[in-house]
Structures are given as C-alpha cells and as structure tokens.
Symmetry: C2
Subunit: 446 residues, 2 copies
C-alpha cells in the first residue's frame, strides 16, 4: 500500500492523503457507518478521475463515489481498503437560459441549480428534502425524487446528457439515443461508472403557488382523500404526509400549534394562473373535508413557508425522541396506502418500537422511520422490523425503494424483491460494465 | 428449413405459414424494403413469444419484431432468412383510472390508449403523427415522440413497468428500479429483447386548448421566433413547422387557403384555465408578429382542427410531388435552427432535388424530406444528400435521429455520430443481452 500512497501523492498531492480524523468523515452516509477508507481523493477534473481509475485498476483497489454523503441506503459507505472519490470540488455550473438547460459537474449542490436559474425565471424541479446539502452526483446515483416529483418527475427525467468515466478509465459523454446508457448509469449508485457531469433540463418557474394543511383524525382517511382527489383530476405540485407520531414530534420541537394526535396532509398547487391554482387546491380541500379533515389554507407565502418548515423539520424533530433511527423508504400503489400505513403502525406496536411515518404520499412513497436508543433497544430487532416493513411493501405490490436506493442497506433484500432472472440480468450488466469489480463493490446486488 | 416449418406449424398453426403474397407485406416499413422473410408469426401470448425465441435459437434463425411497420428507419425490415414476429394480435389493454395507468400489450395502437382513457378524463400524451396506425411496441422500440412531446415528453417518459422476453426465452417484468433495464430496452429497436407489455402513465386531459397559425416570409425568422418565445417562458403543447415547399404541397392537396410561399408555424397551448391558455398563446403571437409574421388565431375547435389537419396532411401531400421520398429525422439545438434549415435548403438546391422540411420545431426536431422519382432521379444521389443532411445536424451539435431511430437507414452513420468508446459500449450491451445475435441483427450498430 506504500506504492499506492506514493502514487496518490504524486497525482493529487495532499488532497489524497487526509489524516485519519479527516478520513473518518468519509466512513458514513446519513444511515450507515463503514470502515475507514484507505484514502480519500477529491478530484477537480475528469482527467484526474481517469487517472484515479487507472491507478485503482493497477493496484486492484476499489473506488467508492461520494457526493455529500446524505444518502439513506449506505451507497457511499466504503468497504475495507477502498478509495473514496469525493466529488465536492468538481462543482462547475454553466447555465444556458435560452436552451433552458444547465451543464453541471457532480459536486454541484442540488439547490444551487435552481438558485442560479431563478434570475432567468427558471428552476430545476428535482428537490430531495436534502437539497441544500445533497449533490447532483448523488442525486444521479440514487435517481433521487422529492416532494415536487409527483407533478414533475425524478432526477433522471431531467437528464439530457451524461458524462462518465468507465471502469477502464475512458470518458463517455452520451445523449439519450439508441441504447440509453445514461439511463442505465442513473440510479446505479456508483457501481457502473463515475459521473463527471450532466446536462439537465430547466423549467419556467410557475407564477403562483397555494398551500393547505388538512388534519385527519386517522391515517386511513388521509390516504383515502389523497387517492380520491387524484382520481378527480388534481395534480398538486407537492403532496406530503405526516403521521401522528411525526406531528407530535414536530410540535414538541417547533411549538407552532400543530394539531397533536392527527395525521397531516400538506398540499401545494402551482401554475401560471392564480384562479386555477386556487381551484385545484379547493378540489383537494373539499375531498379532505368529506373525509372528516379540518382544513387550514395558508393566507400568504409566510404562512405557507411555516407549514413547509414543519415538513422539513420532521428529521431533526424525530432525532429528539430517540438518538438513532432507521429510515425506511418504500413505495406502494396509492390504493394500498390505507392498509399499508395501518399494517406498519401495527408492526411497530408489536415490536414495541417507535415508528414514525411520513413521505411523498402522492407517489405512494412512504418513509417509515424506526426510532431507537441503542443503549436500551437491540439494533437487530430494529433491522428485523425494517425488513418486515419492506415485506409489507412487497406484499402490497410495492417496491423496496421509493427513492433512497438499495445501497448496502437493502441489498440482501433484492433476492426477495426481484426474480432470479432479473438478478441474473443485473449481474450481467454489472459484470459487463465493471468486470473487475472496481466500482463500489458490495452495493445494490446481493 | 423443412424442420423449422414443421415446428412452426405445430406451434402456431397456419398463422405462421403465410403465403408468399401475404409475407410480402412484411418486407417493408414506411421507408425501406428488404427480402421476403422465412416466416411471419403472429403470437397471441407471451408464452408463444417464448416458444418462438427457443425455436429460433435452436435453429440459429433471427427474429425481427414488428408492430405496424410504420417505422421510418427500416427497424422492422427483415434480413434474409429471418422470422418476422408481428405483434398485432397481442393487443389487450387494461385501464386503471384510479391509479392513472394502463397495462398494454405491444400490439395496442397508440391512439387507442387515449381513446379508451378519455371517458375517465385521462389521456396518453406520446402522439407520433402516425398514432392511428403505429403500435405501442413500435413506439417503445423507437422511443417515439410526437407534436405533444415538447411539453409532455416522449414514450419512455411514460413507462412505469416493462415486460419483455430475452434472447434466452425468459420473461422479465421490471419496474424502473436499481439498474434501469426497461430504459435500456426502450429505443433499442427490437435488438435487445421482445417487448410483450408495458404499464404506462396517463395524465388528466387539459380542459382548454387554443391554436394559432403564423405565416413567416422566411424560415429563419420563424426559427428565431420559436427560440425567443420559449426563452420568454412559453410552454406550448404543440409547436410544429412547415417550410414553403411543404406549405405549397399541402395547399395543392387541400386547397384550404394557406399562404403559399410562406413558412408556417402552428402552435397549440393547453391547460385548465382558458385565460392562461389564451395568454400563453398571445406571448407566441406577439413574438411572431415582431418577427414579421401574419398571425391567424383559430376561432373554435373546428378551425383549430382544420389547421392541424394541414400539418397531418404533409405526408400524403408530398407524395403527390414525387412518387418516392426519403424522410430524414434530425434534432439540433434550437439556437442552431435558422442556420440548419437554410443550409439544408441550399444543399437540396445544389443537388437539384426537391427537399421539404417540417417537424417538431420546439424540440429542434426537423424532418427534411427528399422527394424523388426513381425513373428520373438516381436513388444513390438521394441517399448521398440524406447523409449530407445528417452531417449538417452533427456539425451543429445535433444528433442523427430525433425520434425515428437508427434502424437500417442510419447504422452506417453511427461511426460518424458517436465516438469509438461509445460504440464499443453499445456493442458490449448488445453482446451481453443477445450474445447469439438472434434479435434484429444488422440494426442500430454499424
Ligand atoms: C434529511 C434527509 C432528507 C432526504 N430527503 C430525500 C428526498 O426527499 N428524496 C430523496 O430521493 N432522497 C432524500 N434523501 C436521501 C439523499 O439525500 C439522496 O439520496 C441524495 O440523492 C444523496 O446525494 P448525496 O450527494 O448526498 O450522495 P451520496 O450519499 O454521497 O451518494 C449517494 C450514492 O450516489 C453515488 N454517487 C455519488 N456521486 C456519484 C458520482 N459522481 N458518480 C457516480 N455515483 C455517485 C454514491 O456512490 C452513492 O451510491 C434525504 C436524506 C436526508 C439526510
Ligand atoms: C406518416 C408518418 C408519420 C410519423 N410521425 C412520427 C412522429 O411524429 N414521431 C415519431 O416518433 N415517429 C413518427 N413516425 C415513425 C413511426 O410511426 C414510429 O417510429 C412508430 O413508433 C413505429 O411504430 P410501429 O408500430 O409502426 O413500429 P414498426 O415500424 O413495426 O417497428 C419499429 C421498431 O420497433 C421494433 N419493435 C416493434 N415492436 C416491438 C416489440 N414488441 N418489441 C421490441 N421491439 C419492437 C421493430 O423491430 C422496429 O425496430 C411516423 C411515420 C409515418 C409513416
């Protein structure tokens, strides 16, 4: 390994040779911790990425791509002896307001794209709740969604061109023609190539927004209301849900007068005409009322912002109930939501563990969070429950991951989730694009 | 081959053993003609497709998937000794209005999805001009677009799940998770798998539509107007263009009073509020006028329909100028449109051939059509010109195919269009999913 260090030093100088304390930061993402990496490299150009791939090949080392490390499936967590490639310094961003596109390097923070597009009346729709920290590279790695994805779609829907370095160190820059290799790279969690840039689509900013909060006595009625309003033709931009556990936690945290013990639905409609935007919100309002909800419409931007702040505070708020948690991420058909939410709540009770549920309910995307204290509650039981929750999703025709990816966390589960033929096809794809197992080994595939 | 015939007969009965006259129909698509296939099979179930793949493997025969044969790149044209798999009889369609999806077999005609969704207030956006004949399987094979794709996106953007039979005869039914194999199959022109079904997304029908026609003295000004209006924030649903040659041809054909010698822009806006829909159209109207256009707004549905009929009549109208034509299909950045349209017109003149241009101009997608009479004009020169046109696109940062695919027609061109590394990656994908070259050999890859 001395040879590797010397070579890394020659190629990248001190950037590659962080102290053990510094390297410690690169052991974990937002859910899992791994061993200390052999080295952490912060490349600044695609040529440096190429050189790194060639070096890793020569020495038989593995490379783990990393954006902001905000992932929730362990995708960026290194295995023993791996080199972490952190893309934070590759963060150039060029806007083309006329063509309504942006060329962005992987280290660009998600929120920055919309911020820089705003003066031109444009925005970049994919908005994971983590968007102030998460990177475009990580969003591409996980094909991240966000509250806006019900109306606007996920990261991959906005990619026009993708540039990546393959496991031989070659650069490719591809549009989405003939064989859609960019599509194959998107969502592959760093296991098929290292993304060094993307051209993404921007959309015109809608002129108006309107927000409401509906408080339901019970989660099933909330799910029912969502499903009915959508069937009636509502296409809200955001459609978020908090169960009573989450509501109480946020209320303890912010003290903003949320209705404790209720299930909350937050809805935003958007568009270029205030009347339509209001009308569409009214459709949701009426449906919610029919199902027993109390509805509060935000009177202005400030009130709306406060409601959305409640949603964004779920994560820190839950952190105050128990020091640790496992964030599940499932997606089920909307029609199954009432049953699924109730079954998960019952499972939590049966295990004697606190489970909070929230998520992008318009897409049937739920984030059941199991909260625990490792000093008092056995972590194995927590993971057992997480697996039971995933099984509930599969039983109801859902999928293993709504948007956080498979990573380390769910790879063992792939065998239950997809048939052997599909797994075989996945393995073939991996073996073809990365025959030496250089890129993020041990992720995605069981 | 007697063994093959006997086996086909045992498996499929007379359906597989069409007479030479009947088989003749399966030699061509809408642009190229090939040899007579060995056999034509019309499977009715996925199990029959599987049996056919196994039979073809055993005998070392190739399989050419075929939908309606309306393709414009020769994708469904058989090679010598191939079996054509025509999906016309696999045409089951099941709607789920609440989930806003449809499960469709490949033989379902594109337009039928929207027709059956209409009573539920829903529609299926991808709308190739050929949608009354083209099949979903062919749309998936080519990742077809259409006039609505500027606002709504292409076929692949609506696919939630894909079912296909691989070259070993195994069936896979996949969502778009982990490695996006459905995305790889979409646009692969029958070379990676035989698609036997798809779950597609449906959208709520917009309540209002408004249409205008703008007549420009010159094509460059038209392209400029499109680019400016879009930069100002207009998101029309349809944005179609006809050059003066096309306009004259349609006027000769329909006699509806179109302004001969002008370049025409047809624009439709849609949405749930009449005012916004009208406003958005006004934005385009003003920009067009600034650039010297005469603008006519459709007063009602009937007038709008007449204008769109003009657009849809381009194909038959051009057929009256010369008996044959080669339909090119390029896409270039919008900013390059004025230059590209002019260069192509000049090339046509230099070759002494009639070139008509029209297309989905909002996406920069042009269809330069070379019209010719094989008795008087040498077909080689026509193809030479077609290649020159493709080169114009590449020189201006465009791509080889906007939406019709590579097929037979453009495969020789792939070498100029993509770098060797990308081609190598494409070949690897093909060799991995179809190692025996069973599926539509000789297409896409040079
Ligand atoms: C509070 C909170 C809220 C969240 N909300 C959402 C949400 O609403 N929606 C959602 O989808 N996710 C959400 N997430 C999860 C996470 O933020 C997303 O998955 C995000 O896309 C990760 O980005 P990152 O830059 O942090 O990536 P990382 O965690 O660093 O990496 C993620 C994966 O991408 C790979 N990768 C990173 N860069 C590259 C590259 N250049 N080339 C190839 N592969 C690469 C990594 O190897 C890894 O497998 C949330 C997380 C938190 C902590
Ligand atoms: C007048 C006219 C207008 C047109 N306008 C447009 C337009 O606006 N936009 C546009 O994109 N195209 C347009 N086209 C081209 C054509 O209609 C589209 O490419 C359409 O998608 C082809 O569908 P098809 O069913 O006819 O496919 P086919 O021509 O039969 O096949 C097309 C390709 O798909 C493959 N394929 C077919 N079925 C399957 C299957 N089940 N599994 C795997 N592969 C399969 C075939 O092997 C072939 O490679 C137009 C054509 C005409 C003649």
């Amino acid at each position: 390994m001395v040879g590797v260090r010397a070579e890394l030093k020659a190629l990248f100088g001190p950037r590659a040779l962080l102290s053990p304390a510094e390297k410690g930061v690169y052991r974990y993402d937002a859910i899992l911790v791994g061993p200390e990496p052999l080295a952490v490299v912060l490349p600044e150009t695609r040529e440096e990425v190429q050189a790194l791939v060639r070096l890793a090949r020569k020495h038989g080392l593995s490379l783990v791509a990393r954006g902001a490390g905000s992932g929730l499936s362990g995708g960026a967590v290194p295995e023993e002896g791996a080199i972490v490639v952190a893309f934070t310094r590759m963060a150039r961003l060029e806007l083309d307001p006329v063509g309504r596109t942006a060329w962005a390097e992987p280290g660009v923070t998600t929120a920055r794209i919309s911020e820089e597009a705003r003066p031109y009346g444009l925005f970049y729709p994919p908005d994971p709740a983590s968007w102030r920290t998460s990177s475009l590279g990580g969003n591409l790695g996980e094909n991240a969604g966000g509250p806006l994805c019900f109306k606007y779609g996920v990261t991959g829907d906005y990619v026009l061109e993708l540039e990546f370095v393959d496991s031989w160190g070659e650069v490719h820059r591809l549009g989405r023609q003939a064989y859609d290799l960019p599509g194959l790279l998107i969502g592959s969690e760093g296991t098929l190539g290292l993304i060094t840039g993307a051209r993404v689509r921007l959309l015109p900013l809608p002129r108006y927004r309107a927000t409401l909060m509906a408080a339901f006595p019970e989660v099933g009625a909330l799910a029912e209301a969502v499903s009915r309003a959508i069937a009636l033709g509502a296409v809200p931009a955001r459609l978020e849900f908090l169960d009573p556990v989450s509501v109480n936690a946020v209320e303890d945290y912010l003290g903003m007068g949320l209705p404790r013990g209720h299930a909350l639905l937050l809805v935003e409609t958007d568009g270029d005409d205030l009347e339509v935007v209001e009308e569409e919100l009214s459709l949701v309002e009426e449906t919610a009322k029919e199902l027993g909800a109390r509805v509060q419409r935000a009177k202005d931007e400030r009130e709306a912002e406060a409601l959305w702040r409640a949603r964004r505070s779920v994560s820190p708020a839950l952190g105050r109930i128990r020091p640790k948690r496992v964030n599940e991420d499932i997606a089920v058909p909307r029609s199954e939501l009432p049953k699924v939410v109730r079954e998960i709540a019952a499972l939590g009770e049966a295990y004697g563990l606190v489970v909070a549920q929230f998520g992008h309910i318009g897409d049937g995307n739920l984030h059941p969070n199991i909260l625990f204290d490792p000093r008092r509650e056995r972590e194995e039981r927590v993971w057992e429950l997480a697996h039971e929750i995933a099984r509930v999703a599969l039983r109801h025709g859902g999928v293993l991951s709504g948007e956080h990816g498979i990573g380390l966390m769910k790879r063992a589960f792939m065998e239950e989730a997809v048939d052997e033929g599909t797994l075989e096809a996945f393995r073939t794809v991996k073996a073809t694009l990365d025959p030496h197992g250089l890129l993020n080994p041990g992720k995605v595939l069981p």
